[in-house]
């Protein structure tokens, strides 16, 4: 049999890539082998366009136990506790079938975490939709939110927040990035690397069906008008089985019977078996007649490429089969020995007593194509928008417009569909700067934040890359946590286009510089290319998921103001950078010019100072300043507590809009008691940090002297209407 050009194309491979396959095999491939190559060589599994750039990211430091390359990253948080976490995209499936796409995105990332021996303790997400004005957005929003909730609620892991954004750039390519965080004993981490010859390879979990065949290949190509026809490539989630699999795996992990374990994620049985063998420099032989199938007459091709969910591959130590089987039977899950490790260094598949595929493991992994794609430096607009160039607007009108916009509205409509407190360790839910989850039975906690700034990244990919890392760092600091490490999900367009590749390279460069400066390593992540429809790429959207540590829960901080009479100070200098701001976008639909500059030295100094003020109990509430600028952040503090603010008139009223809506970086709002003002002055002087007093906490009224006055209730209502109104109309 000779593979035709059509077959190569329909597998998402290029003709020259097939030539390489023939060379590696020394012969023509059969159709099953072609399928296996396509599953392993697609962008999603092979990182062929991104690998050489990802290598530049800092991935190690004193707390990193496991960096990228495993199912998830692992960091040390002291006392033998480890945190296992990762973020991953499920963009393409979620656009085609929002409920199942999002649900299985959550399922997949949970498996990545518990595969490593960690009990998942929290879920987060970053979801991006197109303009609310187009019809499908409402359907996608409802489907994705229900899917995320439906899965996490059922498994019983709290979904504690994230971000939801709308931008017409996602009209035909939504983003659904899910992050899972788990807790493990640092001496009991499980890896995917196989060890030893003639060890049993065991299949556990759900049966294999025809769903999701070639899902990873679908996720590695752009969409066109016929994308709807790809529906059968989306998997169907079963959170109940996931919960059983989670408990069964954790039960089995209590002793030492597992040599290695790998979840069957993208490219299912193919990638899991190849990855285990490849890491162990071994071969693997499977008998496909043993695979538990959901449907009759499934072919080897379908079995190897199915992306049915809730399945795992385990390599067991000798003589552990009986005990292990007992555990999986208790949980009513399939447990079948389907093969063994070999010294052949090949993937050998048997079916009906015949060898149906025989491929050197290295051909599927190390020798997969790697591209140094051509890229262009992005053109950065220098255009500065001056306040005198735009139409006059009253401060309070501009504020209300931002607070009631889809991107800045309160997201209770979403988060009320997520169980945020199951497991009873949620110390701080969504709505603040970071979620805070207690380590079970201990007086310490982790903080989690997920951030992105696509507009900044589009305007200047490198600065944007720096900014999101810094914003994430700031969000962790704001709840009193010491930032430790991040995971990233890099969502981009078609890497074969030089400008898209350029955006990718520069964003990664920005992320790298920030992570290096802040000692904030990247320990896991995922790249999603081809977020493009009919040749239109999305804005570059790297998403950062960061973890911080609160070693003493008594130092937890929130954005909620505490007492009338207290002062609010702003730390960090306000210049009034309006380009790419929410102020210009929401009020004037202007999205031009460069994003705000990032100054690493100030960022770090300011952040560490805030952390110190929190520890010394001088800071009573803290909120970082981000999208929308200072006035939006002040109003969020007020809405959160129900207390008002008297905001001081700035010295130069002419530039008040710039002062209150500018998005200069590295700034925090902090509530202090009046008595501490002298102490603060001294402290700031010593640490060479700029600060000024901007407001005083009071009851009920949110006002600026002689400029405007709003009731807190009204402010709250402006911020709480959009989602309900949007979803009330059909």
């Amino acid at each position: 049999m000779v593979i035709t050009k059509d077959q190569i194309n329909s597998h998402g491979l290029k003709v020259e890539e097939y030539k390489k396959i023939k060379e590696l095999l020394g012969r023509e491939a059969n159709l099953l082998e072609l399928g296996i190559f396509s599953a392993m060589w697609n962008e999603h599994c092979s990182y062929k366009s991104s690998k050489i750039h990802l290598k530049k990211l800092p991935t190690k430091n004193e707390i990193v136990i496991q960096g990228p390359g495993e199912n998830a990253g692992v960091i040390d948080i002291g006392d033998d506790d480890a945190i296992v976490f990762k973020i991953e995209s499920h963009n393409h499936p979620s656009f085609i079938e929002p409920y199942q796409g999002a649900a299985t995105g959550v399922g997949g990332i949970l498996r990545d975490v518990f595969t490593m021996g960690a009990r998942p303790i929290a879920l987060m997400n970053s979801i991006h939709f197109g303009s609310p004005d187009i019809k499908i957005t409402q359907n996608l929003l409802n489907g994705v939110v229900s899917g995320i909730g439906g899965y996490g609620n059922s498994v019983g892991i709290p979904t504690v927040g994230g971000e939801t954004k709308f931008n017409s750039t996602y009209n035909e390519n939504i983003l659904v990035n899910a992050m899972a965080i788990g807790h493990a004993n640092k001496n009991k981490i499980f890896y995917s690397k196989a060890k030893g010859i003639n060890k049993q390879v065991v299949y556990v979990g759900s049966k294999t069906g025809r769903d999701g065949i070639h899902g990873a290949t679908m996720a590695s190509s752009e969409f066109d008008d016929k994308s709807d026809e790809k529906k059968p490539t989306v998997q169907v989630g079963d959170p109940f089985t996931e919960k059983l699999l989670l408990e069964a795996c954790l039960e089995l992990m209590k002793d030492n019977s597992i040599i290695s374990i790998q979840d069957m994620g993208a490219a299912g049985l193919t990638s899991s078996s190849v990855e285990m063998a490849s890491k162990g420099k071994l071969g693997i032989e499977l008998n496909l007649n043993k695979i538990p199938c959901r449907e009759r007459n499934m072919t080897p091709y379908e079995m190897m490429l199915s992306e049915s969910q809730e399945r795992m591959l385990i390599i067991l130590d000798d003589e552990k089969e009986k005990e292990a089987k007992k555990i999986f039977q208790k949980w009513d899950l399939d447990f079948v020995v389907i093969g063994k490790t070999t010294d052949s260094n090949s993937l050998v598949l048997n079916y009906d007593n015949k060898i149906v595929a025989d491929i050197p493991i290295s051909a599927l992994s190390d020798k997969a194509p790697m591209y140094d794609r051509k890229w262009n430096k992005s053109k950065i607009s220098k255009k500065k928008i001056k306040i005198k160039d735009i139409k006059k607007i009253r401060i309070e009108d501009a504020l209300i417009k931002i607070l009631s916009s889809p991107n800045h509205s309160n997201k209770n409509w979403i988060t009320n569909q997520y169980d945020q407190v199951v497991m009873c360790d949620t110390v701080q839910k969504s709505g603040g700067d970071s979620a805070v989850i207690r380590i079970h039975n201990k007086n310490k906690a982790i903080a989690i934040s997920v951030d992105s700034s696509a507009n900044y990244c589009k305007a200047d990919p490198k600065t944007g890359g720096k900014q999101i890392v810094c914003e994430n760092w700031r969000n962790l600091i704001s709840v009193g946590a010491k930032p430790l490490a991040i995971t990233n999900c890099l969502n981009f367009g078609n890497p074969e286009k030089t400008n898209v590749m350029g955006e990718f390279v520069e964003c990664v460069e920005g992320i790298k510089e920030a992570c290096e400066f802040l000692n904030f390593p990247v320990v896991s992540g995922n790249v999603s290319f081809y977020n493009e429809t009919n040749s239109k790429s999305i804005f570059p959207t790297p998403v950062i998921g960061g973890i911080g540590l609160l070693d003493n829960l008594n130092n937890i901080m929130s954005i909620k103001t505490k007492n009338p009479g207290n002062l609010i100070i702003v730390i960090g200098k306000t210049i009034g950078h309006l380009n790419q701001s929410a102020f210009l976008k929401e009020n004037f639909s202007i999205c031009e010019g460069p994003p705000p500059e990032v100054n690493f030295v100030n960022e770090k100094n300011n952040g560490l100072a805030v952390l110190k003020l929190i520890k010394e109990k001088i800071a009573l509430s803290v909120h970082d300043i981000s999208s929308g600028g200072m006035l939006v952040s002040l109003s969020e503090m007020s809405i959160s507590s129900g207390l008002g603010l008297k905001i001081y008139k700035p010295k130069k009223m002419a530039s008040a809009l710039e002062y209150f809506f500018g998005e200069d970086q590295g700034r925090y709002l902090i509530e202090i008691s009046k008595n501490n003002l002298n102490r603060i002055e001294k402290f700031m002087k010593q640490n060479k940090i700029f600060f000024e007093v901007v407001a005083e906490v009071q009851n009920d009224i949110f006002e600026m002297e002689k400029i405007f006055s709003l009731k807190i209730n009204d402010l709250h209502n402006f911020n709480n209407q959009w989602y309900n109104n949007y979803n009330a109309t059909n």
Partner: protein, 225 residues
């Protein structure tokens, strides 16, 4: 006091409730659904979660499990039974409590803090609360919209068999503070003998000062009385 927490495949609040019971020095056992015997227990808790995935009607499969016939036997002998959320659904499916829990009126999963009013404290479950006390508890469910026929509803109302109703800050009962459309704002009900309680809100989630409040702790303390 001896307690048992029943664990079904898909239960996910079993640990949460066990933590509270153990904190209060209950001698607690976790009982797997395939067991055919139940240790002697003063209190049996059926926890929240998604038993058997709840792919059929919520609680319907759990109601037919091995262990449930033991729970029913213990209930008939007077043991105290507490069904929380999915546990309430199971108690209804197995017939220990009457009525039905329909999909929430707005057809969405709802998870949030809500307020309930204690309407009956002369019983084993609420004796530590004041009559009319307003509690802040958390709900998380898809099917918590309690419904029953007129005759049964009258029976519940006339015999003080509704210990909890959704209310506002001042303890008023109205539509705005009813999160799921339950008839008469019902959040929990008793059987005739008041030894079986089914409730949608999670008291175990409000039993740790550090996380939230301790409004739910009183229920477990009452049981010890």
């Amino acid at each position: 006091m001896k307690s048992s927490v029943i664990v079904f495949p898909g239960s996910n609040c079993d640990r949460d409730v066990a933590v509270v019971l153990e904190k209060l020095q209950f001698k607690n056992s976790m009982i797997w659904h395939k067991e055919t015997e139940l240790p002697r227990s003063d209190l049996i808790v059926i926890p929240g979660g998604f038993s058997y995935g709840d792919y059929l009607r919520s609680g319907a499969v759990a109601a037919k499990s091995n262990i449930l016939s033991e729970v029913i036997r213990a209930a008939n002998k007077g043991a105290l039974i507490l069904g929380i959320c999915n546990g309430f659904q199971i108690l209804i499916e197995c017939g220990l409590l009457k009525g039905a829990l329909l999909r929430n009126s707005k057809l969405k999963f709802i998870s949030k803090d809500i307020l309930v009013k204690v309407l009956s404290n002369k019983n084993k479950f609420f004796n530590k609360y004041k009559d009319g006390e307003v509690l802040k508890l958390n709900i998380a469910h898809n099917e918590g919209n309690y419904f029953t026929d007129k005759k049964h509803l009258d029976e519940l109302e006339d015999n003080n068999l509704i210990p909890l109703k959704y209310c506002d800050k001042k303890g008023n009962l109205n539509n705005e503070c009813n999160p799921n459309g339950s008839i008469n704002n019902i959040a929990g009900i008793f059987n005739k003998d008041k030894n079986i309680l089914g409730m949608m809100p999670h008291p175990e989630r409000m039993s740790d000062k550090f996380l939230t409040n301790e409004d739910g702790l009183g229920l477990f303390l009452s049981l010890m009385n």
